[in-house]
């Protein structure tokens, strides 16, 4: 009898507490039931799954703390456990990230490739793969990865930028021009796209178009030192020495970067001689 009364009280209290909650929007899923089993294989699978989740959490925190070696250790262990999706592609992605931060570009590329093999729609992995191939100096592999990225996401600004950069590194100025023009059409205020269009135009021998793009970049971003230096070089090629000197002076005024200042200064002084 006492038991029944207690249960009844608990039930009433539960209903009273739950009723108001039921009226408000509840954005969270219900509590996941705790699996109960004595089967050895099922217990092993549950333990493995738990280890995968916990190690990804630890590795993720290690990356946040820039502890790359711990992150590599954790994610290497996770991928050895052959995790299901999405943890499998996530672990390979994070492993690639940690390797890249340690300048281990070949290992990073390998990890990103595996992430994409598990999840072909993983655009962040595709983006980072192009970057690490370029950082490794492997332009043909970067080109293949960039083509695949654009095929998977034709409207992605990052895909267009990465393929454009790769094309410039490969000397394919026509592709670079097409990609940076598409990028600029989608976001005309992005000065860097104008700069890269100008480089491609310059390579194609169209110096007046290059000059126009560089002036557009500088209007959008007045302290864009590389664009000022490029403009000076283009103007000089067009025989406009005085304007070129002004461009190099503008570059000097716009940056504290010693390397860029040195470049602008030496170019300006070469005209003065």
């Amino acid at each position: 009898m006492r038991f029944s009364v207690t249960c009844g009280f608990v039930f009433a209290a539960t209903v009273a507490t739950a009723a108001p909650l039921g009226l408000s929007a509840q954005p969270y899923a219900g509590v996941t039931p705790i699996p109960r089993t004595t089967d050895a294989a099922a217990l092993h699978a549950l333990a493995t799954h738990r280890e995968i989740i916990e190690r990804i959490k630890i590795g993720f925190e290690a990356e946040g703390a820039q502890n790359w070696s711990q992150a590599v250790d954790e994610f290497t262990r996770v991928v050895a456990l052959d995790p299901p999706e999405p943890q499998g592609s996530t672990a390979y992605y994070d492993l690639g990230f940690a390797h890249a931060e340690r300048d281990e570009f070949a290992a990073a590329a390998s990890a990103y490739e595996k992430a994409i093999a598990l999840d072909a729609g993983f655009l962040a992995a595709r983006a980072n793969l192009v970057s690490v191939y370029l950082l490794a100096g492997n332009v043909p592999a970067a080109r293949a990865a960039a083509d695949a990225f654009v095929a998977a996401a034709p409207d992605s600004a990052r895909a267009l930028y990465e393929r454009g950069i790769t094309a410039l590194h490969a000397g394919d100025d026509a592709t670079a021009l097409r990609d940076f023009r598409a990028l600029s059409s989608a976001d005309p205020s992005y000065a860097v796209a104008h700069y890269d269009i100008a480089l491609a135009e310059q390579q194609l021998g169209r110096f007046d178009d290059a000059e126009r793009e560089l002036r557009a970049a500088i209007v959008l971003s007045p302290h864009y030192t590389r664009a000022q230096i490029a403009l000076g070089a283009v103007l000089l090629h067009e025989g406009k020495k005085d304007e070129a000197r002004l461009a190099f002076d503008g570059a000097l005024a716009g940056t504290d970067d010693p390397a860029l200042r040195n470049l602008a200064e030496s170019l300006r002084d070469a005209i003065a001689r």
Partner: protein, 84 residues
């Protein structure tokens, strides 16, 4: 004798000056050619998109995946221009 020496010195100086000027002009042309032909670097390789947690790329606001998908440059974590 003195007149001959003066003429010789003057002539030699003139010849040296002419040669120096020609050399200087040639050096200047070479320098300008080098400047005009300066091969400029493409803009920077983008920084990596950041780490992803155990939830994976779908089903939450995954910033790296959003950055990779973004259609406009300013949302895509691409290199900046100012000061570079």
């Amino acid at each position: 004798m003195l007149g001959v020496s003066r003429r010789l010195v003057f002539g030699t100086a003139l010849a040296l000056l002419t040669l120096a000027s020609a050399g200087f002009a040639r050096a200047s042309i070479v320098a300008l050619d080098a400047v005009a032909g300066t091969q400029l670097d493409a803009s920077a390789i983008p920084a990596q998109l950041g780490p992803i947690n155990e939830l994976g790329r779908n089903g939450w606001h995954c910033e790296p995946e959003q950055g990779a998908k973004a259609r406009v440059a300013h949302e895509a974590t691409l290199p900046a221009s100012d000061g570079y």
